[in-house]
Every structure is written in C-alpha cells, then in structure tokens.
C-alpha cells in the first residue's frame, strides 16, 4: 500500500502533532517477558511454543477484557463476572487441541466425494435422510451451547475460549454436512425428533456441568456412532462424512475428559456434584439409547436399524447392530470416565445403562 507523497507532505505540514504521553513504551511497567525470539517448531508456531515459560495464573480478580500478560489499564471497564479460577474451565490439552482443530478444518462442499452418491433403495434413502435430519438437530444444539460460556471465561485463560470457538465451527460444519447429505441424493429432511434430552445441554448452569454432559457423555455417544459408521455408509461420501466428523468429535471429547480430570484433581470435593450431572443426563438420554422403540427418539434408532440392516425387511439384523452399538457406546463412555478419574461411575451409572452392558 503506497500513499501519494504530495498528499503526505501536505498532511504533514497541515496537522499539528499533539502532545504525546508515550508511557506505554516504558518496559518497566510491563509484565516481564523473556526477551527471546520465538522459533516455530515442526508444527509451526504453536500456542505451546508461544506460552512456554510464561506464567499461567491460577486465579484472577480481573473482570475486564485484558488478555493475559497485558498491562492493566487502571480505568478499564469490567466486561463480565468471569470464573475467577483457572480450574473451573481449564483442560491441560487445550492448546494442543486448538492447534489441531485449526490444522484439521475441512469443507463439506469440497472434501466430501459427493459424486460417489448413487440412488439407493427408497427405504434406505429415507432412513439416511431421517438419520441426517436427527444429526442436524443434534449439531444445532452442539453449536449453540459452547457459545454461551465464552463470556464467562476469563481472557486470562484465552486458550479455552479459542478451543470453544473451534468447536462451534466444527458443529456448524457437521449440521451443514448432514443437511447436505439429506438433500443430495433425492430424499430430503424427514421428521423432527422429540429433542427433550438435548435441551439439558442448553440448560447447564456451570461450565463443568456443561462439559461433562456435552463433551464426556453426549459427544462420546455420537463419536462411537460415527466410528461405527462403516456399517451405515453406502458409499465413499458417507464414509468420509463419518470419518471427518469423528475426527472433530475426538477433540471435543478429549477436552471434556481432560477438563473433568483437571477438576477432579484440583477440586476433589466436586466429585459428587459431577455424579449428579451425569445422573441427570444419563436418565433422559438413556431412554433414547435403550431401544428401537423408545418414546423419545424411535425414529433415529429405527433409521439406524434400517441402514445397518440394509433395508427395512432386514431390520432384525439392524436391531442386532443397534444393540451392539449401544453396548459399545456405554463401554467407551465408561472408559473415558475411568481415564478422567471417575472409575466408580461404572457402579453408579443409571441402572438402565449399567444393565445394558451387564446383560
């Protein structure tokens, strides 16, 4: 960008330079920064490289929008009553997950081989469309929910904010890709589900409640489903959808599991509280999980059975798949809780779920 020199001369002679304060240039007023040049590593210049050696405070009484490390402005306006403790929202893998999310963005318009879609038997196509309709709904909620926590997270721990923004982006792409699948092969969107269980995620009043319910429970179920997608996919486009969505979900779960671990390690007195949140979500959603004819979302389960069976005439085969899927979902959920440091959940889980793996 170049500027006309005559005009610049005119401006220079016309404008009176105001008196300057320049106090912001005084380095002694700043938080001390190791005056060394950052060097990008194998993965580029990552947040881990950036923050290596910097202080990471555990608490903050600053309610302004000050980014970590910036000099405080004495007259800065407060923006929100944030969580004052790092533990409330932190996860030790958050920087890594953010960078990975940025690196692994994909496009539903161009990264899915849509040309591999072929006309399917009517019942299978309808089942796919019902399946995609439900997942579009699920991803709507999944996208809305992280956003409501952003303004409650202190900019001191900006990494969590950045990660949640990547999650919102991921969920937008998921709702988009399932909508596209529903409309790309001559079917269309089918019936809205009951949706009651999902509202619990929106209703959370605490970040750890939100993370346990959404990342550790709900997304874990979806992740197991996506990873079992091979049985539901009829072409390369659908396989790619499952693979790419599962990759994104893995990050969200990893955040949730490590946040839960962090909470249990730093605030062990919250263990029972966490069980309460899990009790809450396992109850309503377990109804969905239990059967192909449950009151809440029969259409989703039925769609899975038709897809896995290869058509509605083979719904028995699909039922077996669904039951195996549910069992895997519960087992993987329990495994993640064990990793997070909540192994006793196996024995305290909603009896309906527990019976599911024990019978």
């Amino acid at each position: 960008m170049a500027i006309d020199q005559d005009m610049l001369h005119q401006l220079t002679t016309q404008e009176d330079l105001p008196e300057l304060d320049l106090s912001w240039l005084r380095p002694e007023d700043r938080a001390r920064v190791e005056a060394t040049r950052l060097r990008p590593g194998r993965k580029g210049l990552t947040l881990d490289t950036l923050e290596a050696g910097q202080d990471l405070p555990d608490a903050s009484d600053d309610y302004t929008a000050r980014p970590r490390g910036a000099e405080r402005h004495p007259a800065a306006a407060r923006h929100h009553l944030y969580y004052p403790l790092r533990h409330e929202t932190w996860s030790d893998n958050v920087r890594l997950l953010y960078e990975e999310a940025v690196q692994r963005q994909w496009s539903s318009a161009t990264d899915i081989p849509w040309h591999t879609l072929r006309p399917l038997p009517d019942d299978v196509e309808r089942a796919w469309c019902q399946f995609a309709t439900f997942l579009t709904e699920v991803e709507f909620i999944a996208g809305d929910t992280p956003g409501q926590w952003l303004e409650r997270i202190n900019p001191e721990w900006y990494e969590v904010k950045l990660f949640l923004l990547t999650q919102i982006m991921d969920e937008a792409r998921h709702l988009d890709v399932f909508r596209k699948r529903a409309l790309a092969n001559g079917g269309g969107l089918l019936q809205e589900s009951g949706g009651g269980g999902l509202r619990i995620i929106l209703e959370c009043q605490d970040f750890s409640e939100f993370s346990a319910i959404m990342h550790v429970f709900a997304e874990a179920l979806v992740q197991t489903l996506f990873r079992s997608g091979e049985a539901l996919a009829y072409n390369e486009a659908e396989k790619a959808i499952f693979r790419l969505c599962a990759q994104d979900e893995s990050r969200h779960i990893a955040f949730g599991v490590m946040h839960l671990k962090h909470i249990l390690e730093t605030q062990p007195w919250r263990r029972e509280e966490i069980h309460y949140y899990l009790d809450k979500i396992e109850g309503p959603l377990s109804l969905d999980m239990q059967s192909g004819a449950s009151a809440n979302a029969p259409l989703f389960d039925e769609a899975i059975m038709v897809l896995a069976g290869g058509g509605r005439k083979n719904i028995d085969k699909g039922f077996d798949f669904l039951m195996n899927l549910r069992r895997r979902q519960v087992l993987e959920y329990l495994h993640r809780l064990e990793v997070a440091g909540l192994p006793e959940r196996r024995y305290r889980m909603n009896p309906v779920l527990r019976a599911f793996i024990e019978t």
Partner: protein
Amino acid sequence: MATVGGARRPPPETLEEIHMSQQTTEVPEELARLAQERDFPLDLVRRALALGFSPGAVRAQLLRGISPQEAEEFLAQQERLRAGEEVEVPEEITQMARKRRWPAGLVQRALRAGFRLSEVRAMLDAGLRFDQAERLVIIRERSQERQREGGEGRQRRTELPWMNVRTEWGVRVRPGKKGLTLGSLNVGTYGDVPDYWPYQTEMPRGAYHNPGAPPMGYTIYEKAELWADNAADLYEEAIQRQWKPATAIPWDDIAALPEVQERALAQLCTYLCQNALVCSDVIGRWLKEMSYGYHEVKVYMATAGFDYARHFDVFRKRAYLNGIGMGRQSPGYYLRVIKDARRWTEAATLLFIFNSSYVLHLCQVGYYAAGSEGDALIFRLAMQDLARQTAYGVKHLQYFLMRKPENREEVHTCLQRAESLFAYEDDKDPTLQEALIVLLGGGLGEEELKRGWALLNYFRRRWLRDYLRRLEAAGLPERRDRLFPYLRQWAPAPAAAR
C-alpha cells in the same frame, strides 16, 4: 433354517412340537461352519433355531463366546417356558426382586423373554427399578417377536411412520463449480425462507414438525432481525479461505523491527487481541438466540467466531515473536457498547460495520507499516476475514431497514452511542493512537512522529470514508450528516492510495 415353503413358520408351543421341530430344523451352512470352528455342538444350534431364534441371533451368541453349558441351561429354560412350565427361581433372586419392588411375575416374564437367570440377577444387582427392568424385558420381547413373526407381521412392523412424511422426494442437489454449497441446497420448498419462523424447537428448516418437541428458548424468530442474503455464500467462502496462524505465516522470516517500532506493533497487536476476544464473546452470546429457521446465518456466525479466534492467535504470536509480548490493555469502553446490545441488529451493526471498519483500518496501518512479507501477510489475511464480516453487516442492515423502515432512527441511536463512546475512549486513552503514530512514522524522532501523525490522520480519513460508504450501501446515507462530531474531523475524503 426353520422355514416352511420359504416362509418362517410359527415357533413350536408344546414339548412335542419342540422335539418335532428340532428333528426337522436345518442349520444354515455358514452357521454350521461357525459352530464347528468354535467347537460348539450343532445340536444346541438346532435347538435354538427350533425355538424360533434367528440364525443371526445364534451367530451373535457364538461370536460372543457363549459356552455349551450356558447355552444348554438357557435352551432348557426356554423349552420349559415354551411348554408352559415355570422356571424355578432361586429364593435369593425372588427376595431381591421383592426388595426392589418388582411385581410378582416380572422375573418369570424376563426369563420367558430370553434373559438368563444370571442376567436377571445382574439387573437386580444393578439396582434396576421395576419400570426400568420392564423396559428391558419389553425390548427383548419385541426382539423375540421379530424373530418369530411371519411375513405379514414383518411387513406391518416395518411400516415406519417417519418414512411417509412429506419431503421434496426426487429433488437432487448436484455439486457445482464450488462443490456442494450450502446455498445450492435451497431448492424447492427448502428455498423458502419464511419471514417468521414458527417453531421454538430444534427443527431444521424443511423437516416435518414433531408436535411433542420442547421449546429451546430462542428469541429471534423474525427473518428481518438476522437475515442477510449473502450469509450462505459467506459461510462457504469463510471455510474455503480458512488459514492457519501456526503454519501459514513465515514466522522465521519476520525480522525484529527496531525496538520502539516492535513495541508499537506489539501494542497494536494487544489491542487487536482484546478486540477479537470481546467480539467472539458477542457472537457466542447471540448464537443461541437465533432460531433454526435461519441456519445460514448461524453457521456463518460460527465462521466469524472462528475468524476471531485465529486473529487473537496470530496477533498474540506476533506480539511475542520478537521478545516483546503484550502491551497495555485498552479500557474497553466502546467494546462494551457492542456487548451491551439488546437486539441482534444492534450488535451486528456495531460489530460488523462500525467495529470491523475500524479494525480493518488498523490492519491497513499494520499492513502499511509491515517490515516483512510475514507481517504483511498477517494483516492481509486478517483483512480478508474482516471483509466478509462487513459484507454480512451491510447486507443484514440493508435487509433490516427495507423490512423495518420504522426502525431507522433506532439504528442511528445505536451508532451514535458507539461513535460517542469511541470518541470518549480515543480521547481518554491515547495508547493505541500513539502506538500507531510511532509505527507509521518509524520512530520517536520529531519528524518521524509528525509523519506518523499525518499518516494516522490519512488512515483515519480512509476509515471514516469506508465506514460511511458501508452505511450508505446498507441504506443509511444520511449518517454522513449525523456523524458524531468528534469523528467529523476525519470525515473529508482522503487522498487516493495507489
């Protein structure tokens, strides 16, 4: 297989029928092979099939590793139950069932449904209430019915109501030059974006409403309150143009500027970081307010939030790159105005027209003063993202004003508030302004500062010009005459850049 003339026959009901059936039941070749591989008696397989269990179910048990003893125990139990006999339930289980207040008969029913005694015991151990246990039993009963029923029943059962809901069946969307884009999905009735979205649920536009679905608590149901005709295209463009701060910037090639300029740049980056964080908070707050009838706007907002994340990331990295770090925070007065908005159009106008125009001008300053290709790239990529945001802001305000001309004065009130608080902050806290002067002038010498001041005024005139042009494009040309007085100092048209 237990079939008669190709159709599944009803399961045997008496012991005699069961024995007859066992003699005539054929085991499918594949299943027989599996049993042999697992060293599992074929006779037990035949007995299971004779009871009406499907080959698939038997195969699943074999794969799960059921032992012949377990199978024998289970099949004997099933045969007795089918013959009308009751299975003897150990007293211990009866007691446990009583303790759990299971109704009399539920244990027998569970056994008839195909549960083993050990499984019933596990259900009781797990603490299942009677209603929960009954659910499991019902599922198992249905599964058994499926395995036993004849062709007609199967046909009836597979009539799934959701398969018959109205859709645009047969309308197939094809990928175009830019792939399968969100906008291209708006065909047939899916292209009808209603002026008012009547559903409070999570129903996607174009799906069939479920009257039992609960409300989700959104507050924006009117198209005029959020719509922009370019939202779907901006969403796809944002995804195609996403860049990666860690690897897209040639960090190694960015040499340190002289210390004073490096500090000035770090100060600019600090401001941009703070701005990006607050803006992303605003988006997060409003996303959940937008109903699902207008998903194009919601998904575009997700990309805008992601843009802000990357901006924070890249500007923080740049501030620290050469050992300086964050500068002084801004007091954040005018950013609070954006946060304080009580209507999305208010927030969007301030965020995407007022603020994005302002931040664009800061990026122009950064781009102009860039001492390396890497620095120039950082600001160029950020400007590319901000341009999309202004595009949404302008188109939305335009749509809003066309549908709601009676709200024109309200928009002026919002802008007045933002402009006046910007003036207050700019006057009260010279930090950013001074940093820009130093950066543009190239140092602290008198001539350098004078040059920097002149250039800053140049860029601010450019900013005001662009800001007013955007408002004009949105249908608010009179803002030029109603601009807050403090900003009028930069209102004259700037010199053309080349």
